[in-house]
Symmetry: C2
Subunit: 202 residues, 2 copies
């Protein structure tokens, strides 16, 4: 079956976003990453920076979020925690985007949200820690934390968030159609493999 | 770096062996599967059928194996359980095969045994249960157990054996350079991707 929607789940620093953007450019289809956060923000009433911070939060950290009310939409959270409220909106946004037409969606547990669509190619990009540590310093600069600490924190967040909302274990090959180690194969080879798979599915 | 040795770990019924054989044929390099069992049998003194049964056994099942002595090599087991004794021989055989030159090795935890060689491409082939159930009945025939029960038994064995001897979790994307779902991508596409990766690594 033709693969129209490509979801790319990725480890922080693995190059998954770069790969996704290049796949979308080559295939001439929309690429959703920050755009998705903006859409969720628009529908939730929260600021984009707040949404970005919370959609990958470990759910336990939202215990006190009931005190917040999104701007302009008082009372719509129906007793949900901020994370759960945003999760529901995110699910709807992703389902709608996939319905609109071919696209690449990076992160946001889209592999799970779109698991019942047969026209999706679900990809996981991972890489060894040295490769990722080097990459985040080059791309995002230094910070007061060591690159290793930054990776550990992000890895833990994504793992907890993914397990909480999907009931699956993060990084299990079974969750994806294809998993690629960008540190071993190279970012260009990963990009080419995905493009070929989509083209050959037609 | 040129990828000379391809290890293929696979779920029972996923087509990993078929893919491995086709990759070896196309690249014109040796394919080790049953041949590997025969080599281990030769070096251990056990019969090939006994080796095949025990190398994928869960280690707990070998508690009473101290009573057995391999034919022709009395006293060489040095107090090791049969599984551990065979594991040591298997490690040496696989290390020697990789040293001899380009090849494809299916199963036997070769991904872990050869993890320190940079000239290896480590592949994991998995597939959904319906695809595998259908395939094992077509390839190996019916048995008194249901296909699902046969899959569950084999999956459990491989998982326990892998975890015991490698300390890693079976099916984690991190253990491999590339993981492919043969039920979603098709056996031919999986074969082609591996061949291209090896050819392009030169």
């Amino acid at each position: 079956m033709e693969k129209k929607v490509i979801t790319i789940s990725r480890e922080f620093g693995s190059g998954g976003r770069t790969i996704g953007r290049e796949v979308a450019n080559t295939l001439g289809i929309p690429f959703y990453d920050k755009e998705l956060v903006e859409q969720v923000a628009l529908e939730s009433g929260f600021a984009p920076t707040f949404v970005e911070e919370h959609v990958e939060h470990s759910p336990g950290k939202t215990l006190f979020s009931y005190a917040f009310t999104p701007q302009g939409v008082p009372g719509v959270m129906n007793g949900l925690s901020t994370a759960d409220f945003l999760w529901n909106i995110q699910c709807n946004v992703i389902l709608q985007l996939a319905e609109k037409g071919p696209c690449v969606i990076v992160g946001r547990n889209a592999d799970y949200i779109l698991k019942d669509r047969a026209d999706c190619l679900h990809v996981f990009i991972h890489a060894d820690k040295d490769f990722r540590a080097d990459r985040i310093v080059r791309l995002y600069g230094e910070s007061e934390k060591t690159p290793q600490a930054r990776l550990n924190e992000k890895d833990k967040r994504r793992k907890v968030n993914y397990q909480h909302y999907t009931g699956r274990n993060w990084g299990q090959a079974h969750n994806y159609d294809i998993c690629l180690d960008s540190s071993k194969l190279g970012i260009q080879a990963c990009t080419d493999i995905i493009i070929d798979l989509v083209k050959n599915s037609k």
